[in-house]
Symmetry: C2
Subunit: 209 residues, 2 copies
Amino acid sequence: MIEIEKQTEEKIFEAATEVFVEKGMDGARMQDIASLAGINKALLHYYFRTKDQLFNKVFEMIAAKMIAKFSPVLDEKLSLEEKIRFFYKAHIKFLQDNPRLPGFILNEINRNPARIKKILKTIEFKKIWTTLYSQHKEELEKYNITEKNLPQIMTSIVSISVFPFAARGLLEGIFDSMGIDFDTYMEERKEFAAEFVIRAITKKVPGVS
Amino acid sequence: MIEIEKQTEEKIFEAATEVFVEKGMDGARMQDIASLAGINKALLHYYFRTKDQLFNKVFEMIAAKMIAKFSPVLDEKLSLEEKIRFFYKAHIKFLQDNPRLPGFILNEINRNPARIKKILKTIEFKKIWTTLYSQHKEELEKYNITEKNLPQIMTSIVSISVFPFAARGLLEGIFDSMGIDFDTYMEERKEFAAEFVIRAITKKVPGVS
DNA sequence: CATACCTTTGACCAATTGGTTAATCTACAT
DNA sequence: ATGTAGATTAACCAATTGGTCAAAGGTATG
């Protein structure tokens, strides 16, 4: 029956997502996914022939979801500074809801770069950049942003929100001995990161230290 | 013989390091390590009883090596700004020489947080902070740095150099479509990152945009 | 030469794991 | 009722893999 089928496939997919994100492709066990979905292991292979196939679908779905989260920044009618603030608020919130995603994605990228590169081919980054550029032409001149240092700035922006989640286990260890709570730190980071970046890209006024 | 023993153990250790960093704990195969070391698999277990034990020793060695690379920053008699420039130059160079380290470390942290937390317990981060603070007491007031936002700043600094390596596979995919070379990007980042951070922590002068 | 001790090896084992298969079950159409 | 097609399962398989073991090799000592 189509109703039940959807249910089962959905259940499997959700379970697979959870297990893959938690354990990674190598660490994940088909039996664990089956158990979590409350079904037989053979049924897994009935719906998704192989582990590789299942993983690819899960990974593509996650990638699509993340990209969808990013893109609204392009549409918002905001100034550049407002966009940066908006980005960090939205992006960090998303990561708070999916804290294991950064580690998972980065790991799989390193484990199988070919797979991620194939998925990335479908996105036109140059287009995103030109869109952003046309939207903020005048503003960009006010800042240090040129075509040359744009990759530096973009990657720096993303680093600042993604890295703490990827390195969460490490940061928690460090924070422990300093009496800092990771969640509080992350909550404050929404605003800190925005101001940090805005200050960094603001042109230094000559003659004023 | 003690001479040969050292040789063999060394060979195993180097091979293990390479394979573990490349494939991660889960993905690494004892046979691969043995083959790379040019020895029998049984000999692996003769020197390092289990895979877990071998991995732990490798991981601890890497952690120690990284910490050793970090600490000179504390000793240098430099101004804060010079220290930031020195840090990025040295740190990015280290990562250029060991490009797979960030991905490896982050992955293992996420896969087994307990292990890394145990290792971290041996380091007194509070001490590092107080050392830094006493060294730059006057300067820090010139900047936005207080005890409260220090973790934000420190993690931001590290993010900017570590993240690109951890996400290398992804960045290369993006850069491809924009005609950017990762190595060039990374080389330029040594200077960019320093200026970026210095600008970010510099207090805004009121009345001047 | 013999003894003792450490190193090295090939063969082997038990457990895990991705994947298959044949049989059973369920719902629905006739 | 009955046949049919898809959904589900238990049992099973082959390959991989971490780990073991008894035997063999090598080397210094007496």
